[in-house]
């Protein structure tokens, strides 16, 4: 289906989220929408998918005829389906029920017939989804697959994907891209919204770049990366060379650490981490790295082995003991586990301070907040509730909350969903910590990030843990193979 957007404006209060956007996407095209966080990509897609309405004056034209889209249900009726960044599905329900939900028809759905349809569609794209299993047992990538075939089944001819490669493994990403290419060949229109240059370059036929609500440029393959970056940020940005840390004394030492939960067992990990060192943990989601980092934080109790921090034995101690010893953990779910929605930035900074007396010194809190907001370059006011901040600013706020001094910083997906400018900023702040003698352990599904910022890398594969790899002498390809379970035999000395 041909999609045409004409003169789309959208304002919230006095701020324009979209300003006069024009876009023409012929059927069978994979259109990339590129822009940093807050550039207005999501607003534009919400308008197209019926979540919000554009200001009067704009037009959406499908296959030559103008349409008015009042709701997401209208949109899918017109053939526009959207895949949201957080899958809008029902985790405690079965896959088949998720698939069925929202389909019109008689009172009693014919489950067997629908299950056949489901299988046929899933097979077409080589998805292995069991219609009888529950959605909460699926990975984010599999939930996307479910949503894609559901939208196709509902008759979607335009598929919008909002940051679909965030939080999925590289294998799933490859499969997703293959699926999108098949769909484009079938004449479907694909709109791929992302802030990840490499994904867009790899997949899209043409790219539109948004900045501060405006369309700043359109380009087709072949792309020039530096051009795209300049369009996105209005200036050139590079990652810079790797900066290996200078290792000091051993900070944390793990001897024969064994961990287990319902699904996984990790056996006998031995690791010494020195001051200033950055350790990256790579692996598919759920391969054991989450459990490992939580064991380092004192949130998961090892079933065997010893953990020492600067000579102090912390084996079996609680999270609070770890924290007092200078270990801080920033989990992936920023709003669920890291910050307190409803509290302002000032409240957070005051809470994180050592309490002095019963009552809050508001003036001091305000001053502290202003100071931190400035030094961490947070876009927000002291009284802004944290949930109103963008992802990048939430992450900066979390960094600003880290106690000082620190021995060990544990980070789970520290830059997930952030644009490259925020990524660089956050890592510069983290590297400052390293210079002050802190060590860092972080999980990331972005292999380039792992290699760029780590000194050593541990790869996790279904509970197996590799020997530490020197990040300077490992390539993305090698890492990808190990994550996928290949090449473990050659390592010889890998832990079982």
């Amino acid at each position: 289906m041909n999609v045409e957007l004409k003169n789309i404006h959208k304002h919230f209060g006095t701020v324009y989220a979209n300003k006069g956007i024009n876009l023409n996407i012929p059927a069978g095209t994979i259109q990339g929408i590129l822009g940093e966080n807050g550039a207005g990509k999501s607003t534009l897609m919400k308008i197209l998918s019926g979540f919000i309405q554009a200001d009067p004056g704009g037009e959406i034209i499908l296959d030559g005829s103008p349409v008015i889209i009042h709701s997401p249900a209208d949109a899918i009726h017109d053939g526009i389906g959207m895949l949201h960044q957080d899958p809008l599905d029902f985790p405690p329900m079965r896959i088949l029920d998720n698939f069925l939900l929202g389909q019109s028809g008689g009172l009693f759905p014919n489950r067997n017939a629908v299950a056949l349809d489901f299988k046929r569609l899933a097979d077409q794209f080589d998805f292995s989804l069991d219609p009888d299993s529950y959605v909460d047992a699926l990975t984010v990538g599999e939930r996307q697959q479910l949503e894609i075939i559901r939208l196709l089944w509902m008759g979607a001819r335009v598929l919008i994907l909002d940051e679909p490669t965030t939080g999925i493994s590289s294998l799933q990403k490859a499969k997703l891209f293959a699926t999108l290419k098949i769909l484009a060949e079938q004449g479907k229109t694909i709109i791929f919204v992302s802030h990840k240059l490499e994904d867009v370059e790899h997949l899209c036929h043409q790219v539109a770049v948004l900045r501060a609500g405006e369309m700043v440029g359109e380009t087709r393959t072949p792309y020039v990366t530096s051009k795209l970056v300049e369009m996105m940020f209005g200036k050139a940005i590079t990652l810079g060379a790797r900066q290996p840390g200078e290792a000091g004394d051993v900070v944390i030492s793990m001897k024969d650490i064994s961990l287990e939960d319902v699904r996984l067992r990790i056996k006998n990990v031995n690791l010494d981490i020195r001051a200033g060192e950055v350790i990256g943990l790579a692996g598919m989601e759920g391969s054991g790295q989450g459990m490992f980092i939580r064991a380092c934080a004192g949130l998961v109790r090892p079933v065997g082995g010893r953990i020492q921090l600067k000579g102090q034995d912390l084996t079996g101690k609680t999270y609070h003991t770890f924290k007092r010893a200078g270990v801080n953990f920033l989990p992936a779910a920023r709003l669920e586990e890291g910050l307190v929605p409803g509290l302002s930035l000032t409240d957070h900074f005051v809470l994180a301070e050592e309490p002095k007396g019963l009552f809050i010194d508001h003036a001091a809190g305000q001053k502290l907040a202003e100071e931190r907001i400035r030094s961490f370059n947070i876009r927000g006011a002291p009284h802004s509730p944290v949930e109103s901040l963008s992802g990048g600013n939430q992450q900066r706020a979390e960094l600003a909350l880290l106690q000082s001094p620190l021995s060990l910083v544990l980070l789970e997906h520290p830059t997930r969903g952030l644009d490259i400018e925020s990524v660089i900023y956050i890592w510069s702040k983290l590297k400052e910590r390293c210079k002050q003698g802190a060590s860092i352990i972080f999980i990331s599904s972005d292999l380039e990030e792992v290699l760029q910022y780590s000194d050593r890398v541990l790869v996790f594969f279904s509970g197996k843990v590799s020997e530490p790899l020197d990040a300077g002498r490992t390539t993305v390809e090698e890492l990808g193979q190990l994550i996928g379970g290949k090449g473990w035999a050659d390592m010889g000395e890998a832990h079982d």
Partner: protein, 332 residues
């Protein structure tokens, strides 16, 4: 005890649980849509009194039941309006309504205290009622008990087997996802809260016109059933069939207390009267044991084959509340 006594006793258990079943199903529908109707305890008392009064004055039992349902629906409408339209706390509104309706029932029902009134008669079903054991157990009840049997089945069928029922689950689980699938979330919440309220309102007359006929004011012994029904709804995992079993279990424990009283003379009768409550809690905890972390750990240590069987059983028993329970929804 003779076999006959036991059968009659168990038949009595089925009948005396029927009012609770309406309340549990009504609350289940409401909470499945995401609205907690905490007014239940007061609604039951007010509808018991109101239903009785209407039936007494009109000499028409059916009107009495309808009046009860109307009262339940009206109270539910207040809950729905306050929580969906005004986006106020469902807990606060429901709780105040629970207290208000209870006191209102005592106050307005003064004139009907101890008045002999109409009572629903047993209506044995021909042929079926003559089957040995099953006949007296299931087919010699009054109409409202039969309706309670049917209601359990219909509610289960609706929630788990029909398209609108599937959408109902979705609305309570993730309203935003239901919304993109075409549901008018807030309208549906109104509908289910009011229908659920009408069912809760059926509980009152099911007491005052059938199982515990008459209105006795504060000594009617109906105060507290609403809270029991609320906990049965929760422990029943928002499933009408499991909820019904909870209601039967509670009625059974109460009956057991009565039966055992003459046998266990050394136990104070108060103990036997109160025992159903803690026993109920214990049983319900056991049913939901799969949620506990130590159970998961024990499971992990089991050999593969045993683990599979146990985790299947636990998964089937496990219940989590509708994720959006009590959370207002606004489309973007």
């Amino acid at each position: 005890m003779s076999q006959e006594t036991i059968i009659i006793g168990l038949a009595g258990v089925l009948a005396s649980a029927s009012p609770l079943i309406f309340a549990v199903i009504g609350e289940t529908l409401s909470e499945r849509a995401g609205v907690i109707n905490l007014s239940m305890n007061g609604t039951i008392l007010l509808s018991a009194m109101g239903g009785f009064a209407v039936a007494y004055n009109t000499d028409n039992i059916i009107l009495g039941f309808l009046a009860g349902m109307l009262i339940g629906a009206l109270v539910a409408l207040i809950v729905a309006f306050a929580s969906i339209t005004l986006q106020q706390s469902q807990v606060a509104v429901g709780f105040v309504l629970a207290l208000t309706c209870r006191d209102l029932a005592y106050f307005l029902g003064n004139d009907y205290m101890g008045v002999p009134g109409p009572r629903l008669q047993a209506a044995p079903i021909p042929v079926l009622g003559d089957i040995p054991i099953l006949g007296p157990l299931f087919f010699r009840h009054d109409v409202i008990t039969y309706i309670s049997f049917i209601a359990i089945f219909l509610a289960w069928l609706w929630i788990f087997r029909t398209r609108p029922g599937l959408m109902l689950q979705g609305i309570g689980e993730k309203p935003a996802a239901a919304y993109i699938r075409g549901a008018n979330v807030n309208l549906m919440r109104y509908v289910y809260t009011i229908v659920g309220g009408a069912l809760i309102g059926l509980t009152g007359p099911a007491f005052s016109l059938a199982t515990r006929a008459g209105w006795m004011g504060t000594i009617s012994g109906l105060d507290g059933f609403g809270w029991i029904a609320l906990s049965i709804t929760i422990f029943g995992g928002w499933n009408p069939v499991r909820g019904a079993f909870g209601a039967y279990l509670f009625a059974f424990l109460q009956w057991l207390g009565l039966v055992l009283q003459p046998v266990l003379t050394q136990v104070p009768s108060q103990v036997l009267q109160v025992a159903p409550f803690p026993l109920m809690i214990l049983t319900l905890l056991l049913v939901n044991i799969g949620n506990a972390e130590w159970v998961e750990r024990t499971l992990a240590a089991m050999p593969e084959s045993a683990r599979k069987i146990f985790s299947k059983i636990l998964r089937a028993m496990r219940a989590s509340p509708p994720a959006a329970l009590g959370v207002p929804f606004e489309p973007d």
